[in-house]
Symmetry: D2
Subunit: 337 residues, 4 copies
C-alpha cells in the first residue's frame, strides 16, 4: 500500500500514520519527494482492508498495490482449474455447453428439452426451479418439484444438472438433487449464501452481479474458496449500462481479463445478457472466440409459451444450428466442443 | 399494453397474438394505422408480465402502459404512509434522523455514540451487527452480540434501533432485538429475504440496490407489502456510475420521483453514498432540500479506528454542527427536525 | 406514437391533445380502455419529435412507435451498403482491417509501420494526425504534417489512409489528403462537424460516443446521410461503465444489433476499447465472430516509446500472429480476410 | 508517480524503467518491498502523461499521485474565483440565477420571458440560438437571428445573456453578441472549441459531459485556462446512468467535490438534468443546499408549444414561486439570492 501525503503535511502527521501501521504489525518505508512525502507499507496489506487511513490528518491518498484476493489468483495457482461434474470436465480444452429452459415448467417439457439439447451436443442441462423474479406477481418457479423434474431428465439423458439456489435454507435439497449449484447475479454479494455453498465441495457456478466489477466478482469467488470449496466456475452474464436496446451489455472483455487474473473456468451466458434470441448466436460465437470455457444457453421447445424469458430462448432447431457453427469457431481458436 | 406490429405483418400474425391474449382472459382493441397495426390490451395487464409477446411473428414492440406495482403506488393510497417506530414517527412533517456507527464494535463505544447522537437530536440509533463485506478477509460484524450492544444502548438512551439483516435464518433474533430491520443494498433483490421480512409487521428500511432502477426498487418494496407488511421505508444510498471520485453517486432525483410514485417514506443515506466524510454534510442538506423524510448518517467517536467505513463517519462534534445546519434547511422547506 | 392518459383525465384533456395533433397535421384514433384512454397517432410521427405532449394536462405517457431515423434503416435500404475506398471494399464478405499507429510521429516510423501492417494483410492504414487529448498538456498530434506522412506512406505501400478530423475548418485538407475521414467518439455529437463531412461523398468512419446509445449513434449517422453522404461506416469502440480494469467496455452486442437495424458497415476498434494490448487479440477475434465487417487496430513498431496509447498497441510480430488467427475465425463464420 | 513491479521482475526490468525515466529528466527512488519492488518518481510527473510505462516488462501497475491539472486547482489558487458578467458577479456569496427559454423562438416571446425572469429575480438571461439536437430532423435553432433576439431582450431588461456556441467558426458573433459563452455537454471534449473560447477573456460556462468524470471535467476547464481565459464557470447538468425515469441523473456530489478541488464557480442545471418540470424545483433547492454558486433554469411562457424541451420548462408563475423558496434555502445555508 502506498500512502501519499499532502504538500503541507507535518512530521507529526507522518508519525501518526507510521505509528498506526506499526500497531497493526506492518513496517514502513518513507520517501521524501519534491512535492509529496510517500510511505510504502511492507508486509501483508490485506490486514489494512477497511482501515480508514485516508482520513488521517495530512493524508492525500491511499493506493493498494496487492490484489485483495488470494486463493482465486493465478499467482496462487498458475495452472487452470478443471472441475469435474459427474465426468464432464469444465475448464480444459473441451468447451462445456449447458443448455435448457429458463424455468422448469412441466415434467414432459423438461425431459423433451433435455433430449433435444443432448442431441445437439450439450453436456449439462440447465433449468431454474427457484426463480428470482423482479416482480412478486411473476411466476416464482416450481421449487423442489422443479428439481425433481430435472433429476428425472438427468436419469433419462445422463446429463448432469445445474440449477439456481436462492435461500441458504435450501442447501440440503440442492446437495442432493443438483450437480452444479448456481448462485445468480442478484445473489453475487449475498455473502451468507456464498458461505453456505462454500462449506461443501459441490461445484458452484457463480454469476457476475449486474453492476459488479471484476474485482468484486473475484472477491465473491474468494468467499467460496476461502470456506474450502475449490470447485467454482465464474459466469459473465451482462452488466447494466445506459443501453436499452438489449437487456444487459455482455462484457466479453471480462473473459480474457478473468483468464489472466484467475485459474477458475469462465462461462458466458449470452441469453440473459442480451434478452433477445436473435443476438444469442452471434454473442455465443463471440464468447468462444474471446476465450470462454463454456456457455449457458436457454433453449425451449415452445418459447412463445415459456413461463419465463421466452424472448431469449432458442428453439431446439436453432440451437442445433448454433452448435454446428460453434464447433467451427471452437476449432478456429484451438478448442473443441 | 400496446402491441405494435411490423409493416408487413400478416392477418395471421395478428390473429395469433389476439388468440393468445384471449386465452389469457384479456380483451383487445385493434387499430389499423397507416404504417403499422396496433393492438391495445384491455384488462389487468399485470398477468402479461413474463409473457414473451415480443417474439410472436410479426410483432415489432410491446409497451406496458400500467405500472407493474400496486400496493406501493399513490394510486392505491394517495396519502403519505406514516410509520411508527416505538413512538417515533417516520414520514410526516418531522424528519427522522437515524445515526450511529457503521459497525457495532464494543459495548462502551456503542453506548457513548448513542448518547452523542441523541444529544445532537437524532431519534433513532443505527448500527451494523451483521456486516456484508466485499472481502471475506474484512471484519464481518459481531452478529448477535452486536444486537445486544445496541439493545443496551437503547435501554440507556431510549433510542429505537435499526440494524441490517443478512440471512432469513436470523429473522427471530431481529424481531426480538431490532425496532427497524434494514435490508441492505446488496440484498434489495434477495427475494427470499424480502418475503421473510414481509411476513411480520416490524418496520423495514429497504435500501436501493447499487444499480437498481426506481422501478425495481418499488417492485422490491411491493414484495414486502404483498406479504402483508405495510411498514416499509425506502432508502436512497447512491448508485454505481463511472465516477470514482466518490464511492457512489447519490441520486437525489430519486427522492421527489419516489414521493410522486409512492406513499412510502423516503430516507437518504449520504454516508454510504459518498464514502467521504467531507461530502456528508452538503449532501445531507441537499437531501432534505430535495424532500427526503429522513437521513441515515454514520457517526463514530473515533473514525480513525472504526472497524468499518471510518472514511465516511462524522465525529460527534461535526454531527452536532450538521444537525444545527439541518434544522435551518428543514425550516426553509417547511419541515422540522 | 401512443399517448396514454391518466385514469381521471377529462374529456377536455383529451380534446386538447387531439386539437394539437390536428394542428400539426396528424390524425388520431381514440381507444377508451378500462383503466386508461389511449390515443394512437396516424401519420409521420417524426414531426412530433420535440413536441412536449407529455406535459399536456391529463397525459400519463407518450411512446414513439417508429424509429426516429430513416436513411440509415434496413427498412429504407434492405441490402448491405458496400463502401469503396480506393478499390478496397468495406461491408461485404471480405473483412476490412485498418491498422497503424495511434498517432503519427515521424515519417520513417510511419512508413515502417505501414509496410509492416501491409505485409500482415491490412488493407487500410490508420494514423492520427490531429489528436483529441483529455489533457492540454499531452501531445496534440502533428496536424497537417502528420497527414503528409500518411500520404507518403500511402504512396509507398498503396494503402488508403483513414485519419481523424477534429475541426470543421480542416475539411479541405482532409478531402485532399485522407481517403476515409474519421469522426471520433468525442465528436459523435459534434453536429456541426457531422454536417460538414456530410456535405461531400468522401467515406466517413463514425465512432460511437463513450456513452452513446445505439439510437443516438444511428441518429448521428443519419445527420451525415441526410446531408447527402451515403458512404458512412459505423465503429463500436467501447462504452463507459463502472468497470476500471479495462479502459472501456467493448459492447459487442451492438454489432449484430446494428446489423439488424442498419445497412451500414460496422467496424470494431478493440484497441481503444480495452486500452490493454493483451486484450486486443481476444476481442478482435470476438468482434469478427460477432459479425463485424472490419477492425481498427493500433500497431506500433516500438510501443514503449509511442507518443500516444502505447499501452494498447501491438508490435508488428504480434499483429502478424493475430492476422493468422483472425483468418481462421473469419472462415469459421463465413467471411474472409 | 508510483511504479509497482511484478513479484518476479528482474533487475534488468527495473533498470529499463529507471533508464527511461532518467531520459525524460526525472529522478527515481527505489523501494525493495517484501513482495514487490516499487519506484517513486521525483519531479513533475505531468510530463509522464501518455508515457506507456505500464507495458514495460516486469511492470505491474503505474499510479499517478499528482492531479493532472494545475491552473484550475485550489493549490494553484486557494481563494474562490469571482467572475464579473456586465456587473453581475458569479462565484461569491450571492447566487447567480440564469433563466430563460431552452431555444430562442420569436422576438416577442423572448422579450416577454426575459421580463418575467427578471421580475422573479434572475440576473442573467439564458437562451439557445444554435441548438445541438440528437436528430437532424429536430429544430436546429435560429442561429445568428436568435442571438439578435437575445440582444434585444438584454437592451430592454438589462439582463446579460448566456448562449451556447457549437462551432469555432462562430466565435466572432458570440464575442460580439453574448456575455457568457456556453460550451455544452456534448462539446465538453471538443478540444478545438475549448482552445477557441480560451483565446479570449469572455466568460465561459462549461457544461459537464454526459459521461465525463470530475477529472475530465477539470481537464477540459484546464484547456480553457491554459489558453489564457480565466473566466470559466463549471456547470453540472446530469450524467448518464441506467435510470430511465428521469432524463439524466443529477450528480450533486460533484458540487462540493468540485468546490474542494477547484476555485472556479459551480453552477447546476436542474432542467436538463431531470427533463421533467416537476423535478426542477426540488433539485434546484437541493443544488443550493449542496453549495452551488448558481442555477441555470429553463422558463417558457407556454411550455406546451416550446420548440425544444418544453417538458422541463417552468411557467413564469411556477418559476416565481421557486425563487421565493430558493431565497429561504439560500439563507439557510448562508447565501443570498
Amino acid at each position: 500500500m502506498i500512502i501519499v501525503f499532502k504538500p503541507h503535511a507535518t512530521e507529526q502527521d507522518i508519525d501518526h500514520v507510521t505509528d498506526r501501521l506499526r500497531e497493526l504489525g506492518l513496517r514502513t518505508q518513507i520517501s521524501l519527494g519534491e512535492e509529496r512525502t510517500i510511505i510504502g507499507v511492507i508486509g501483508d496489506e490485506r490486514i489494512l482492508q477497511g482501515e480508514p487511513l485516508s482520513i488521517f490528518p495530512g493524508v492525500e491518498s491511499v493506493t493498494p498495490i496487492l490484489a485483495p484476493w488470494k486463493l482465486v489468483s493465478r499467482e496462487f495457482q498458475p495452472h487452470d482449474s478443471i472441475i469435474d461434474v459427474c465426468g464432464v470436465t469444465i475448464g480444459g480444452r473441451r468447451l462445456a455447453i449447458m443448455a435448457g429452459p429458463c424455468a422448469v415448467e412441466k415434467l414432459e417439457v423438461t425431459v423433451e428439452i433435455a433430449h433435444a439439447v443432448k442431441a445437439a451436443g450439450s453436456t449439462i442441462l440447465r433449468g431454474g426451479a427457484y426463480k428470482p423474479r423482479t416482480s412478486p406477481y411473476s411466476f416464482q418457479g416450481l421449487g423442489r418439484e422443479g428439481l425433481d423434474y430435472l433429476l428425472a431428465a438427468k436419469e433419462q439423458t445422463g446429463l448432469p444438472v445445474v440449477s439456481e439456489i436462492l435461500d441458504p435454507r435450501d442447501i440440503d435439497v440442492f446437495l442432493e438433487k443438483a450437480d452444479v449449484i448456481q448462485v445468480g447475479a442478484r445473489n453475487m454479494q449475498n455473502f451468507e449464501l456464498l458461505k453456505e455453498v462454500g462449506a461443501y465441495d459441490k461445484p458452484v457456478l457463480l454469476k457476475r452481479g449486474l453492476s459488479a466489477t471484476v474485482k468484486e466478482f473475484l472477491l465473491s469467488a474468494e468467499y467460496i474458496l476461502s470456506r474450502g470449496n475449490r470447485n467454482v466456475m465464474l459466469c459473465e452474464r451482462g452488466i447494466r449500462t445506459f443501453e436499452t436496446h438489449y437487456r444487459n451489455t455482455l462484457d466479453l472483455s471480462a473473459v480474457p481479463s478473468l483468464k489472466e487474473l484467475t485459474h477458475l473456468p469462465v462461462i458466458v451466458d449470452p441469453s440473459h445478457a442480451t434478452g433477445r434470441w436473435s443476438l444469442v448466436a452471434p454473442m455465443a460465437k463471440a464468447a468462444i472466440a474471446a476465450g470462454a470455457d463454456g456457455l449457458l444457453i436457454e433453449v425451449h421447445s415452445n418459447p412463445e409459451c415459456a413461463m419465463c424469458d421466452g424472448e431469449e430462448s432458442l428453439k431446439p432447431s436453432r440451437f442445433n444450428n448454433l452448435m454446428i457453427d460453434l464447433k467451427k469457431v471452437a476449432e478456429a481458436v484451438g478448442r473443441e466442443l
